[in-house]
């Protein structure tokens, strides 16, 4: 069950981050064309692109938790792979506690920043900040789906 949820959440995350990157590219490309050829400016383009990037970063970070592709200093594990079974639970706990904190603090923060509106588009900052607790929740699902499985290999093949 949790495996399925993790799978589908990740599929959705991937579609989302591709869309965000596309939005960033298109919006800024239009801005350049408008400014250079038509002497016009869109005042919200930078803000929209930045917000898309923030969403991309957090949703993408959650996705990287699923396939264990976060950047890691794994000198000891590389040197002595048998250490992995001792280290993996500690790594799991730290990531889990981190995600729980982001959810808890995230919701508290939303209550405060929800009243604030963004400088150009005038949308509630609550909507944008919400991506942090949301992605932390996705991370937790991915972490729960890992329980009972072999510690995931660090993305590297050795010959």
């Amino acid at each position: 069950m949790i495996d399925k949820i993790s799978y589908w959440l990740d599929a959705a995350s991937k579609a989302l981050i591709v869309s965000f990157l596309t939005i960033m590219t298109v919006v800024l490309a239009i801005q350049i064309v408008l400014r250079y050829f038509f002497q016009m400016g869109i005042i919200w383009s930078d803000e929209l692109a930045r917000f898309a990037m923030i969403a991309l970063v957090y949703i993408g970070a959650a996705s990287a938790t699923r396939d264990n592709s976060h950047i890691t200093v794994s000198i000891f594990e590389d040197h002595k792979p048998s250490l992995r079974k001792w280290f993996a639970p500690i790594q799991w706990i730290v990531m889990f506690v981190y995600s729980i904190c982001l959810i808890k603090f995230g919701f508290d923060t939303l209550k405060v920043v929800g009243a604030q509106s963004s400088a150009n588009m005038g949308i509630s900052m609550g909507w944008i900040y919400a991506v942090i607790p949301l992605s932390a929740a996705i991370m937790i699902v991915h972490l729960l789906a890992r329980i009972g499985k072999r510690p995931p290999a660090i993305e590297k093949e050795e010959i």
């Binding site: 801005q31 400014r35 002497q39 016009m40 400016g41 869109i42 005042i43 919200w44 383009s45 930078d46 803000e47 923060t109 405060v112 920043v113 009243a115 604030q116 509106s117 963004s118 400088a119 150009n120 005038g122 900052m125």
Partner: protein, 332 residues
């Protein structure tokens, strides 16, 4: 992040070209009961830092050292928006904030950003001495922010690299970087320019390379940010007037005993008044400095703006009414 060079309201993100960036605060804080933090986003050689130091001195003196203020300049604790948030959270006691970003937290505060609102420095000073000011500062209470001292910074003038701007007609088609504020953007659209959205460091490069033609700022910032290196003309258009505010976290403020609160309010108010006087006085000095750096400065007959900002005003009135607006306009 706190250190990152994202859009700063008045362009204080650009080079800190001073020679004295290494003063190490080594104040003896042993006797202080209250160790309070003040953050702002401007470099150290700016009037905002002078303002911060003045407030610190006055407050420490008034409380006989019971309060110690630590100043964190140059975005060490974040830019304006982040400082305001930190005050809402209660993680920061004081911040010096440039006007416009506050409107994200208390929309009606943008009223002083309306174009062509203040006739001249006298109008500004009378406003600061009036009850209308108290009505204005009360606007941020609901957002859990206390607005205490006000420093009038000055009129914001347009600089560009093409020609002196003498008529509203000259503004037409100018690609201008304005600060991130709908009121500013609307106003600059209404006089025919093409406002661009850009953070300051990008804007500085864009000005350097002529990707955009113009920007607008107060004379002191035009000077401090080395605009002279990338622009030739300063035209004293003064479409907007800008203030910097000493703000406090309301939740922290409410925790302090009454005598401390009183001292904080007095110090902020006195610092603001003193800085306002200095800024008005220094405008001429900055004009001379800019001329010495090779900029050409011209006067602009602001009466041309009469009736030019009707859309901006009518959309303001639609959203916020005209109660406070009338009061400010009616100040003689």
């Amino acid at each position: 992040g706190g250190y990152s060079g994202k859009s700063s309201v008045d362009g204080t993100a650009a080079a800190d070209d001073n020679e004295s960036g290494t003063k190490i605060p080594a104040a003896d804080t042993s006797g202080a009961t209250y160790k309070l933090r003040l953050g702002h986003q401007s470099p150290e050689e700016t009037n905002v830092q002078v303002y911060a130091k003045l407030f610190k001195e006055l407050l420490e003196e008034k409380t006989n050292g019971d309060v110690h203020v630590e100043i964190y300049p140059f975005r060490q604790l974040g830019t304006d928006r982040e400082l305001l948030e930190a005050m809402q959270f209660g993680t920061l006691e004081f911040g010096i904030i440039n006007g416009p970003p506050i409107s994200g937290f208390a929309p009606e505060t943008a009223i002083v950003d309306l174009p062509f609102l203040f006739r001249d420095w006298n109008h500004v000073k009378t406003f600061l001495d009036s009850d209308v000011k108290d009505e204005y500062t009360a606007l941020t209470e609901e957002a859990n922010l206390k607005m205490m001292g006000i420093m009038a910074r000055g009129f914001r003038h347009v600089t560009n690299s093409k020609k002196p701007i003498e008529t509203v007609e000259d503004l037409k088609g100018l690609k201008i970087r304005v600060i991130e504020s709908p009121v500013y953007v609307n106003a600059y659209r209404e006089v025919g320019t093409s406002p661009q959205s850009m953070n300051w460091s990008d804007a500085y490069t864009a000005l350097e390379q002529n990707a955009i033609d113009a920007q607008e700022n107060t004379l002191d910032i035009i000077h401090d940010e080395n605009v002279a290196e990338v622009q030739d003309y300063v035209s004293k258009t003064g479409i907007n007037f800008v203030f910097s505010f000493i703000m406090a976290s309301k939740q922290e403020f409410d925790k302090w005993p009454e005598d401390i609160q009183q001292a904080v309010l007095e110090a902020a108010d006195e610092a603001g008044k003193e800085m306002t006087t200095r800024n008005e006085h220094n405008e001429g000095e900055f004009e001379e400095k800019l001329k010495a750096k090779g900029m050409e400065i011209n006067d602009f007959d602001r009466s041309q703006f009469e009736g030019k900002f009707e859309d901006t005003y009518s959309s303001w009135k639609k959203e916020h009414g005209d109660n406070l607006l009338k009061k400010i306009q009616d100040i003689k």
